[in-house]
């Protein structure tokens, strides 16, 4: 098993995205570093549009993630409803 990870800029929008990630992936680890937030989890991490929208209280396009994204590790699969990071080993 390996970890997938994603890092977001530490700002107001990311705060809701991080909350949504924690809700969708309860055992994910959230690490705060200067100006950024790194989230890692064994093997798979999912960001669900519906959960982010609920946290933000507005419509959210999955591709808006690009604006606050810093880096990631894992195979990406993105569609209209979710963004998945995964290792396939």
């Amino acid at each position: 098993m390996s970890k997938v990870y994603i890092a977001l800029q530490d700002n107001d929008e990311s705060r809701y995205i991080v909350e949504a990630i924690e809700e969708s992936n309860p055992d994910a680890t959230v690490i705060h570093q200067p100006a950024m937030i790194r989230i890692e989890r064994e093997n798979r991490l999912v960001i669900e549009r519906a959960v982010v929208e609920e946290k933000m209280g507005r419509e959210w396009d999955v591709q808006e993630l690009h604006i606050n994204l810093i880096t990631l590790g894992g195979n990406v699969d993105e569609d209209d409803d979710q963004f998945v990071l995964e290792w396939k080993q």
């Binding site: 100006a35 950024m36 999955v62 994204l69 080993q89």
Partner: protein
């Protein structure tokens, strides 16, 4: 009937498939002449998948939003004299090195991706490379804009592009990209798209940029993270291209492995400069180079190679050497720049006592034994009024062009040196890794433009090193270079800060 709103997958399919055409009366081989000579076999380009499925309209929309945010911050930074908020005047030297050594690589990446984006016959790959090419152009522009503010207040920023093409240590990053761009399109994608973007740029743009934030540099962290938000897409492209090549044909596997071995080694050597920036040039430390290496190379890269094992791909060659070197290279590099501080386009210094203790704590197995004595010697010389600037010019590695400063990992007191005879001429290398790369393609690396040899050949002005620095490199000698102590940068900083 109202048009049905397309989902991301459909939109992307329409963009990348329906905009392409068949060659009915021209030979596709003439339209894409670079696609076969590297030996890579593509049987079906339609298998290409871009997981982000970004279409041009979304691309422009999100890039525009990123730019608006970025330039609002640049304005605020400059209107509020943001340069006064950095930790101290030493920090700014990391930014100088970034502008002269890294930003021009963004421009080279732009050129490289524009080229390969024309050369692939698969339209999905072409679109992705085109977007990346535009991204890279955006990166170099935003970086120059961000750092132009520092240029108003500090020395050493004024001739960055001129210097990039000439200065001895800048030949290292420059030749790295020239090597990749003069390779075929598939090797370029493995070199830059995969090895460099997927694993190595993380070390520059994530922990180092976090470090910039930690040192009060709002402009740099902002362009860094803004660039890095594109980088996540580039990383995904890099991973996609390697999986695509490996799935297309089993004959591609050994070729790709050889490129991975080459480019991870080349990239590791290149990052020596980032190691030094993190451990020595950030007054406020976020993490050591060693720790960053463990997180972003060993852990993240390790997971990646486990994922690729199913295709028969193994870890890059010399991974064991690389693992040991993480304890050494930042110290060796800063010592090299410190002792060549008269020939550098930025200032150097002896780490403070607190910093030396931090280094001891971060590198318990190596720092006190091998590197602290150097700084004790430097302090002794400085106290005598003989700040140590080494005489003469160093021997350079034919492949990476770095002075031969690396040491043997089984005897870290001894420089590592390899040589090889090719067509009766002797060539020198810093490592087995660099020597192997030369042996694979000697016809290419005999052309290395080694700055030291070029000076001796009389191609860089002169005759003395002083004239090379001032006339050929366009350094403002006595202002841009030498120790930070007593430099105009330091004098101005102390005046702004009201320090006597």
């Amino acid at each position: 009937m109202a048009a049905k709103k397309l989902n991301i997958k459909d939109k992307y399919r329409l963009l990348t498939r329906d905009l392409d055409w068949e060659f009915s009366y021209e030979d596709p081989k003439q339209a894409f002449p670079y696609e076969e000579f590297e030996g890579i076999k593509i049987t079906d380009w339609s298998k290409w998948e871009d997981p982000f499925r970004l279409t041009m309209d979304s691309y422009w929309k999100y890039q525009a939003e990123k730019e608006k945010k970025l330039y609002a911050i640049f304005d605020a930074f400059s209107q509020n004299n943001g340069h006064l908020n950095v930790t101290d005047s030493r920090y700014v030297n990391a930014v100088k090195l970034f502008l002269t050594g890294v930003s021009p690589l963004e421009y080279q990446a732009y050129q490289g991706f524009a080229h390969v984006g024309r050369q692939f016959s698969g339209v999905g790959a072409r679109v992705a490379c085109q977007m990346q090419s535009l991204d890279e152009l955006r990166h170099v522009q935003t970086q120059i804009h961000a750092m132009s503010h520092y240029n108003k207040f500090f020395d050493g920023f004024q001739e960055f592009s001129h210097m990039h093409d000439r200065v001895w240590y800048l030949s290292v990053p420059r030749s790295f990209f020239c090597d990749a761009r003069s390779a075929g399109p598939f090797e370029f994608m493995i070199a830059i798209g995969f090895s460099f973007e997927y694993v190595l740029t993380n070390l520059l743009f994530v922990p180092f940029m976090s470090g910039a934030a930690h040192n009060g540099d709002m402009a740099t962290v902002t362009f860094g993270f803004s660039a890095q938000s594109d980088e996540a897409r580039h990383m995904t492209l890099g991973l996609e291209v390697i999986k695509f090549l490996l799935e297309q044909h089993e004959d591609n596997v050994p070729i790709v492995q050889k490129w991975i071995d080459k480019w991870f080694w080349r990239g590791t050597r290149l990052l020596t400069i980032v190691a030094m920036m993190m451990d020595y040039m950030l007054p406020n430390k976020v993490m050591s180079w060693k720790e960053a290496w463990e997180v972003y190379f060993e852990e993240a890269g390790g997971a990646l190679f486990k994922d690729l094992a199913r295709y028969g791909i193994r870890m890059p060659k010399y991974a064991e050497t690389i693992e040991k070197e993480k304890e050494h290279i930042s110290h060796q590099a800063w010592w090299t720049f410190y002792t060549h501080g008269h020939a550098a386009g930025f200032h150097t210094w002896i780490p403070s006592d607190e910093e030396l203790d931090w280094l001891s704590a971060q590198y318990p197995d190596t720092f006190d034994k091998y590197y602290r004595p150097m700084w004790e010697l430097a302090k002794e010389q400085e106290a005598k009024g003989e700040r140590f600037y080494t005489s003469g010019l160093p021997q350079l590695c034919q492949t990476c062009q770095i002075p031969m400063l690396f040491t043997e990992m089984d005897n870290p007191n001894q420089n590592s040196m390899r040589d090889y005879l090719y067509q009766g001429e002797r060539y020198h290398f810093c490592s087995d890794g660099c020597c192997d790369i030369f042996k694979e393609e000697p016809e290419k690396y005999v052309q290395s433009w080694l700055p030291v040899h070029q000076i001796f050949q009389g191609n860089c002005g002169g005759p003395g090193v002083g004239e090379v620095l001032s006339d050929y490199y366009r350094m403002n000698v006595g202002v841009d270079n030498m120790d930070i102590k007593g430099s105009p940068d330091e004098v101005r900083w102390n005046k702004w800060k009201g320090v006597a």
